[in-house]
């Protein structure tokens, strides 16, 4: 019997998801033996035309990390969709847009101007911007188009499953691979991680008072952070109550609050809205002016609550324009 074919691809990503796979390689040797990795651009070679030549649906499962920011990434995602039985969005960027998704607070033009024209160390007297096609003396050079906004993977192609996190934790990757190989997958569209919130498994739960009450929000650099106490009880914004469990409390172990990279829990659609309601319910006041004053101590509400998920928000970008 031939082994199921598996593929990995990256779009707009940092390579951290691929590192996460390498980091657990030792532990999943059995899994690796059970499959045939047909391509993985960081680790193995492949070309678009190699993929094009494969029969449709011939790859059992393709894991795609990274957001979609440039035309080439959308083209590859669409091609892989056609060739694959299952598509798994791997990591926060493919799942929700991730950190690169914060770029949706700005227009394409603003980004290009900052990077290529106005940044302090750029010398560009002729005002050159990168072009899809450039005619040089020897011929024409091409690079992919930089889109107007960042997309999560399922805004470009149909996605079957999601592996959350920046990067996904060892446990959820191993569990997902096992579930796929054993054919024990939950309903299509599921996020392959626990459905409860991070608070449910947090070691600091014991220190959490019956009712959290916040009079003022602090920023992490403004206080010495207690290593045992619930962050919210210290007035630090921790997205644990709104964030899906499964990361292994890595940031908490580093004595820093959760930023929500695993995305919202099962029933919430919009991560930022969920986080906002979770945090604002802790504000200890009935007085409107005081509430406003307390809320004003949150330094960057949109960027904090949508840190990894802006492209998937109900309002996903600064301004919609035709591409």
């Amino acid at each position: 019997m031939s082994k199921p074919k598996v593929a990995f691809y990256w779009c707009s990503s940092c390579g951290g998801c691929d590192e996460a796979i390498v980091d657990l390689a030792e532990d999943i040797l059995k899994v690796i033996e059970a499959v045939d990795i047909v391509f993985w651009p960081v680790a193995m070679d492949f070309k678009t035309k190699d993929v094009e030549a494969m029969p449709d649906g011939s790859i059992a499962v393709t894991f795609i990390s990274g957001a979609v920011r440039l035309s080439e990434q959308e083209e590859m995602a669409k091609l892989l969709r056609k060739k694959s039985g299952l598509i798994v969005a791997f990591g926060a960027c493919a799942h929700l847009g991730g950190i690169p998704g914060l770029a949706n607070f700005f227009e394409k033009k603003e980004i290009l101007e900052t990077v290529y024209l106005t940044s302090l160390s750029t010398s560009n007297p002729q005002g050159i911007l990168p072009q899809v096609e450039t005619e040089v003396k020897e011929g024409i050079l091409t690079i992919p188009k930089f889109y107007d906004r960042v997309y999560a993977l399922d805004q470009v192609i149909e996605v079957d499953y999601y592996l959350p996190g920046c990067a996904p934790s060892k446990d959820i990757i191993t569990n997902a691979l096992t579930a796929i190989l054993e054919g024990k997958l939950p309903p299509k569209g599921s996020v392959l991680a626990p459905s409860n919130s991070l608070c449910a498994s947090c070691k600091r739960n014991e220190s959490k008072p019956e009712k959290l009450r916040i009079k003022k929000f602090f920023r992490p650099h403004e206080v010495i952070i207690d290593q045992a106490k619930c962050f919210l009880d210290q007035g630090l914004i921790c997205l644990g109550p709104a964030t899906r469990d499964g990361c292994g409390s890595r940031c908490i172990e580093g004595n820093m609050p959760c930023e929500g990279c695993f995305g919202p829990t099962e029933k919430a659609m919009d991560m930022g809205a969920k986080a906002l309601s979770a945090i604002s319910s802790l504000i200890d006041s009935q007085d409107e002016d005081e509430i406003k004053r307390i809320v004003d101590t949150i330094a960057d509400p949109a960027g904090t609550f949508y840190r990894f998920s802006l492209p998937k928000a109900l309002i996903p970008r600064k301004r919609e324009r035709k591409i």
């Binding site: 707009s12 940092c14 390579g15 951290g16 691929d18 590192e19 996460a20 796979i21 390498v22 980091d23 030792e26 993985w40 651009p41 960081v42 680790a43 193995m44 070679d45 492949f46 070309k47 440039l70 991730g98 950190i99 690169p100 914060l102 770029a103 607070f105 700005f106 980004i111 900052t114 990077v115 940044s119 302090l120 160390s121 750029t122 560009n124 990168p130 450039t134 040089v136 020897e138 011929g139 050079l141 690079i143 992919p144 930089f146 920046c166 920023r219 992490p220 650099h221 403004e222 206080v223 952070i225 940031c251 580093g254 004595n255 820093m256 930023e259 330094a299 960057d300 960027g303 904090t304």
Partner: protein, 487 residues
């Protein structure tokens, strides 16, 4: 009639990289271009974010070397909030950074750059990978490499919460102190690290330097560029990854300029080409002269060999001995040999391991006070570290609340982008004649840019240990005239 060769290495420079080579009527190389088809725009979208979150945001530039960004950003915050962290915090940060540099450099040698030399540049492609390296050095060594990588990464996780995207950096210090148990483990790994780095240098000696053919290749003109060099040095002009001043030496090895990182924009500038998303750095005084080397060109190089070229020595004794030996063997300082970057990388790994040992044995790292709370109003800050792939600079301006208004990032590999482009041009011109292209030529071009370890996924190239390439030669009519791939 112009013919065209496309080399499409699926290697990462913030995404993929693509090389286009154009041939003239005789089939000789007219020109070559390295294109980077990826952009995310961090400099813009961090605007509006709280400054203290920057170490956790900007590290998402690279999942392979997030520690470098995390640290440059954290140091930038010290400057921004005008705060001097407690000694213990500074030492723990540097210790953490040494573990990272040791791990990254070691892995590069065995999994990435090493296969070219340990197995050999002309070995069949199937053997030019980690498996081939293990065939030469023994399976036990392979287990050791994997084992030491895991140990180093586990300690980093323990120290900073995570190794892919650490979280412990804050202005004025770090988020948690060290425990005795962790320090005990660090000492063990450091000791092992020193021994292992010495072993790696011996492997390099036995398998590369004692092989005349390889040594000739390293010294050949194809891989030589007379450029400026840039890197951090301490107050005695010795190698330093974590702190110091930026020193630039000219192609003769003479100090050209030395400046505090705050003055970087007075000394270096970025050039834009319409055919790539990656900018090209050059020395501001010299100006942009195009992709040419020499004293009149502003092109400089960074990363292992550049760092050794700008320093007068290494603080730790064993690495310093190796430093002297390298320059003696290569015929003096500076060395312009691109392939000597591999050797320099191993010497740096030894320095990192020795530094790890030194800091792990410093009792001060167990001090519980690892934070000083900033009280000054933030305005502007600049931070620098030497990333595995070169000088990395973060520069932020904020409002009075510490909300980012402007950010500028000089990313390590970017410093070398002009030199890599030039190196590929030179190798292609020397090796491709009359339209003849074969696997040997392909690999000899591949070697050029792999010496720079052009990051962004480098670490994740682990498995086969070679950069996949494809060369297509087209006639002007678009007809495919020759095709080759190394896989």
């Amino acid at each position: 009639m112009t013919r065209r060769i496309t080399i499409d290495p699926i290697t990462r420079l913030e995404g993929h990289g693509k090389i286009e080579i154009f041939l003239n009527d005789e089939g000789n190389v007219e020109n070559a271009y390295l294109q980077v088809p990826e952009l995310r725009g961090f400099e813009k979208f961090v605007v509006g974010r709280p400054a203290e979150d920057m170490p956790r945001i900007t590290e998402r530039i690279c999942g392979v070397c997030p520690t470098a960004h995390h640290m440059a950003s954290t140091k930038c915050l010290d400057d921004l909030f005008k705060i001097d962290p407690p000694q213990a915090a500074k030492k723990i940060r540097e210790l953490f950074y040494s573990i990272f540099m040791f791990e990254d450099h070691t892995l590069h040698f065995y999994f990435l750059g090493g296969p070219d030399f340990v197995v050999g540049p002309k070995a069949p492609k199937e053997e030019r990978n980690i498996i081939g390296v293990l065939g030469k050095v023994g399976l036990e060594v392979g287990k050791k490499v994997i084992g030491i990588r895991k140990k180093a990464r586990d300690i980093m996780t323990e120290m900073a919460g995570r190794v892919i995207h650490p979280v412990f950096g804050l202005p004025g210090g770090i988020s948690k102190p060290l425990t005795k148990e962790v320090v005990k483990t660090i000492k063990e790994v450091a000791k092992e690290g020193v021994e292992f780095s010495q072993f790696s240098l011996k492997v390099f000696d036995d398998l590369v330097l004692k092989n005349k053919e390889y040594l000739d290749l390293i010294k050949s003109d194809i891989y030589t560029h007379r450029t400026y060099y840039m890197g951090l040095v301490d107050e005695k002009n010795r190698l330093n990854f974590y702190d110091g001043k930026i020193r630039v030496v000219d192609p003769e090895g003479k100090e050209y300029v030395k400046f505090p990182v705050k003055e970087y924009f007075k000394n270096i500038e970025e050039h834009v080409e319409p055919w790539s998303y990656l900018k090209f750095l050059f020395l501001k005084d010299k100006g942009w002269k195009g992709f040419v080397d020499g004293k009149d060109s502003g092109i400089y190089r960074v990363a292992p060999l550049a760092r050794l070229n700008v320093s007068d020595g290494i603080e730790t004794p064993r690495a310093n001995e190796e430093y002297d030996r390298m320059y003696k063997t290569l015929g003096g300082k500076p060395s312009h040999l691109t392939l000597a970057f591999h050797w320099a990388r191993l010497i740096e790994a030894l320095y990192a391991a020795e530094n790890m040992e030194r800091l792990a044995n410093d009792p001060e790292i167990l001090h519980p006070k690892v934070r000083t709370i900033p009280t000054a109003t933030p305005e502007e800050g600049v931070g620098v570290v030497e990333a595995p792939r070169g000088t990395l600079i973060h520069h932020y301006k904020t409002d009075k609340r510490g909300i980012i208004e402007e950010a500028n990032l000089i990313v390590a590999t970017q410093n070398n982008s002009a030199a890599i482009n030039m190196g590929i041009q030179k190798a292609a011109k020397a090796l491709i004649k009359e339209g003849k292209v074969d696997e040997g030529i392909l690999n000899l071009i591949e070697i050029t840019f792999r010496a720079y370890d052009p990051c962004h996924g480098c670490g994740t190239h682990l498995l086969p240990g070679h950069v996949p390439l494809e060369i297509n030669v087209y006639k002007k009519s678009g007809e495919l005239f020759y095709s080759f791939r190394n896989h």
